[in-house]
Chain length 386, copies 4
């Protein structure tokens, strides 16, 4: 008999029972009133989760598809945009931009660092002719467990009266980390179903404001499936231009209810608490965090592997003995780190169990530390003992 | 208490219980062996359902997304292609081609007619310089319930030694109508999850042969999300370039098993039998079919509304009294026809029930006919009484 | 792929989706507030379905267990009671009485007839010393599809000022047939989960009034598991003396909600309509009903098999070709009748489908009749065409 | 959003996902081949779990019902039997015996102690006329978390050539603790669905050997529902004399498969390991176990409450903060102990999580101990560090 699974990859996440059960409801007519009511509710609730009054659009796609949608809807070939390379997903954003002929000014940093307001300010200051059309920022770089200061970056752009669009990849942050689309004045926010929204993959979401819509009007890149205007017009009557992912929307309605019932600020605080406790535990076990704590993510923690322990051994022991699935390092971090996701439906005892299992696996693999020391730090974090 | 639902729109279809229950399984690591085994099994079984040894690629998207994928992967701006207008979906294919700068030679016909081998032959014969790069054909035009002779069209292209790619939209035919990708030598076949594959929407599929891959190599249209080569390379290790739609793949594995266990030829014959019985019933009730029977589809039947009965009244009575959901006419057929879907998991008594309900609704709305006459024709079809 | 199942045995019945999904919820603490709230809601709603203000008690058992409970709680060895033999289940009641040493006055009738107020009056009139302690009546004899006039029988007992308890076996009638526990002044009503309550088997229910409680006080039969007083006292705090059938109670809460939402009178009328349509169809097919129509049950219809058709052939064809499961004749009716259950969650198109399938099976087996004639009668019943 | 529930009462237990999903399958004909196959498989697999070749019988009832069944089937009024009082459930067995007129020789012990072979030997030695007909022993007294030495007791009975039946209440031990029905020569073993069989309550099971059947033949107590012979005869054709609890049997088939796939000895060892770790943790937290460790149960641990902490506060904090549900003291142990169930589908990280939560609750309530010390003992037990 298998133990309960702990799916601690950095997304897709564990899905609450009530959401899972929505996913297996028989489909209904996607052109009928009953379905339109679901779409309407989802759109309204999504706006609350995005903290925005802007348009919110839905796509039957992975999150990466919505990244592409931002490029083809808002830009034209040869447009200059700022991208970054602080991990696989920010790198991917750069690739997509280049695939569609954009000129990217790529901020390269050691993986484990964040893009800062200063980084952006420096580039924009040099752009005296204000030729830069867009600034793509990953809110949360899942590769390294690093969070960027979106508010600060937005303030810099405004301070310089720079016209560039701010486009935030919030795929792994929405519904986990504080994100204030309107208060921070973010032009475009991109997200997807399989992280903080606690659903299976397959639904992409984007919010965009009037400034972004103005860019849409002058974009010359070809598009049909991703066409924001076409989608917006159909969503006015709570339909989509093509067959919508009905069952994911059944689930979305439920997961949004769960988030709003708990209240978004509480959800954010819960993620912060879980993450703090994980980091405290990691340090108590004599392991090193990849990122500095002031920029470390509340959804995933990247940990440097001790020299004597390979990722494949650690992940095998965790999986086989404890049914914990963790993530490894991607690209140039492969073999150097392991990652623990702690997003979505996650609570105190889940962290206790995961850290307990991690300790036992480390012990089995010969790492030296005081057994129980990690869990104790978790407990102290939860009990607010300092 | 609500009666059992009869979702008789022309897709999404009723989903078998065992498939529904797969959809609500907790997600697993999409980069682990367990998931890769599922993808491998799905790909192998899909090839059997496509009747092909060509590559089969998967996309987290609606079927329409895969239509777009064929354009951006296989063609270049100003390429000449044949498209058609015999309904909303063939029209959509044309729109997508034009959005991406292709030059379309559009075959327009009265809605309710099919594209024939002759239609294609005529155009190709005129194309003496063999400039036409692609022929887009809807296998089954859902708008009108019409099926095109794909085998015949393919034979014409071959007969003329014309190099144009044959691209078949099989979204509403795969797993329902006879489709022999390799035997008929179809270069590209496009389909999706929510029809014959008996799943919720959200997964697109395409098969393509070497001739299509050669076109991929010279295509100059920009692409990333839809990039066939990128997807193919990841699928070699049973992964996807972005987060795969995990739960739809759980369901796909089951629905493919159901199809192959019943045996594809039996599935096709069952659809033919269901469709014949519906058409026999419709005629017995004094109603008229939109399409000629020799081209009528085995997945959806379009019926002309009697003058005295509006679509909204008919669909309301069916829905409210009998929990039958039918489809209406689209675009210029709106208000003129109603459509009954009969695809996927559908059997003898479902048809008896649907026709019984239709009779009662027609009676209530004042249509004159012999009560029970439709069901009797259904029974006679099943019992093979002529 | 299997067609939708039609489980038309006379119970267990088809279970609505929302009830099924309650059954698979994880158990909760059966001694906690959350569970007690469920029990409280069930008890209150059950009283509405029983149409009573009497105590209602629950047992983790089949319905037959609750039949036994009435004997051991309310009577003593050598007590005289009236029982009947009009089918297997009334016969069983007699057996149980005898097993516990009661003296039974058994009304024997040809199977297919009902126990009438006259039958009871005759016996009670002869009982000048009023020695008879109880009258056991099956509200609905499932063996033959016959309903007894409980109101009339109760009136007779009252008219004669006879002290005998009236104990009604409502296992296959509660939630299907009109049953007015208080208005008809029934002392004890026994039922179970798997018929009109639309649940799996495993939960028995009994209602009893003060007159019955007085009998409890003087009963000398041994009991523990079935002890009414012990159960009543625990139910005061919404608990049970032993582990309660938690998941059936989750489901019961939902099924009672469905019944009360539809409104009990509507549920009764729906059953009457379904039954009338089945009987009309049967006659139209040239088959003969076992019971006279004035006493025929609205939950199950017993039909005489045509001479040329064996039960095993008929039930096989129905099962294999159409996935319809019917019931056969029990005991001395074996091989002579077949039975169609039509109770619980059953609606217009279900009957159309079942009768369509029955017609096709009869045709295949050589029975002569006008194909479609049964369905037409069903339709006419629903459309109120006379 | 609610955390994952930890239902750590001493049964009903957490139910594996695959079993839960069986419970919500639509019922099937309980008189058809498909169902009979399920019953047959269940009976065969149950024999493996009971480790017996004796008859195994099923009842739609709570476990307590099957306790009653043993009395009414195997004994007669005034029969002398040995019962015990070492907790609520052994006490209940005594009550049932007395309710049916048996003369009980009741072994009273301080709650927390076990019935020993010596206890039985002493009484049997005094019974020179061998008038004692039965010895009722609880294998596992859930009230106190104590396990009795069944093998030893059986050996004593055999050694003395005493004819008394040995009847073991294995409700809370079957599928958890080593139990060798045939090897230990136990005449009657009683169990139920909601503990080691990992199902909801509602199904009782009994195994009995020829010696017990001989007692059946001379028993004069009245019975019908519980009649072993009637049930056995119907089970020969895999049916029951009344409507079987269909959906519990669907689930039983799956849970038996899980147990036998893991292999029973492994299941027993797992329970032993979980229990050892809990006891080690409890001691490390400065708490006291109710029972001596040499007789302590591997399915539930009873812990003395520290003086300063009330049960209601402890259970509230555990429930509200951590969604852990524990059990309290019953009867005269109320307010003195708390109980942690660890039976069924339970694994390493579950124990880590539960003990972590317990520690945090104890800390919040002012208990003094080294935070993390309990979890460390759990880890050491699993890692076999001594």
């Amino acid at each position: 008999m298998k133990p309960r699974p702990y799916l601690q990859i950095p997304g897709p996440t564990n899905i609450p029972e009530t959401v899972l059960s929505e996913l297996s409801k028989p489909p209904i007519n996607h052109r009928g009133k009953e379905f339109e009511d679901i779409v309407e509710k989802c759109l309204n609730d999504l706006k609350e989760v995005f903290k925005t009054r802007n348009d919110v659009l839905l796509f039957p796609s992975s999150g990466s598809g919505v990244l592409e949608s931002a490029v083809v809807n808002l830009f034209s070939p040869d447009d200059k945009v700022i991208t970054s390379c602080i991990g696989v997903f920010s790198e991917r954003m750069n690739t997509i931009c280049e695939k569609f002929g954009l000129k990217t000014i790529k901020i390269k940093k050691v993986w484990g660092e964040a893009i800062t307001p200063d980084d952006i300010e420096k580039i924009l200051l040099e752009d005296v002719d204000k030729e830069i059309k867009g600034v793509f920022i990953p809110h949360n770089e899942t590769t390294t467990g690093v969070t960027c200061d979106i508010d600060g970056i937005s303030k810099v752009i405004k301070k310089l009266f720079h016209p560039a669009l701010l486009i935030v990849d919030a795929i792994s942050s929405l519904g986990c980390l504080p994100l204030e689309t309107d208060m921070w004045d973010i032009d475009v926010v991109i997200s997807a179903s399989q992280k903080g929204l606690m659903l299976p993959p397959g639904l992409g979401v984007v919010s965009l404001n009037d400034k972004a819509w103005a860019m849409y009007e002058i974009s010359t890149l070809s598009k049909w499936y991703w066409d924001y205007k076409m989608v917006k017009e159909k969503l006015l009557s709570f339909q989509m231009p093509y067959t919508p992912p009905t069952n994911l929307l059944f689930g979305l309605k439920e997961s949004l209810s769960l988030l709003l019932e708990e209240e978004l600020e509480n959800v954010w605080n819960r993620h912060r608490l879980m993450a703090s406790s994980v980091r405290a535990a990691i340090k108590a076990l004599g392991l090193e965090l990849l990122a500095n704590e002031d920029i470390s993510s509340d959804t995933v923690t990247a940990v440097l592997l001790p020299e004597s322990i390979s990722y494949s051994r650690l992940s095998s022991v965790l999986k086989e003995q404890y049914n914990i699935t963790i993530g490894g390092g991607l690209s140039n971090l492969q073999g150097k780190i392991f990652r623990i996701g702690h997003m979505g439906s996650i609570h105190h005892l889940d962290i206790c169990a995961i850290i307990s299992g991690l300790e036992m696996a480390l012990y089995e693999l010969g790492h030296e530390f005081e057994l129980g020391a990690g869990v104790r730090e978790v407990q102290k974090t939860f009990l607010k003992i300092y």
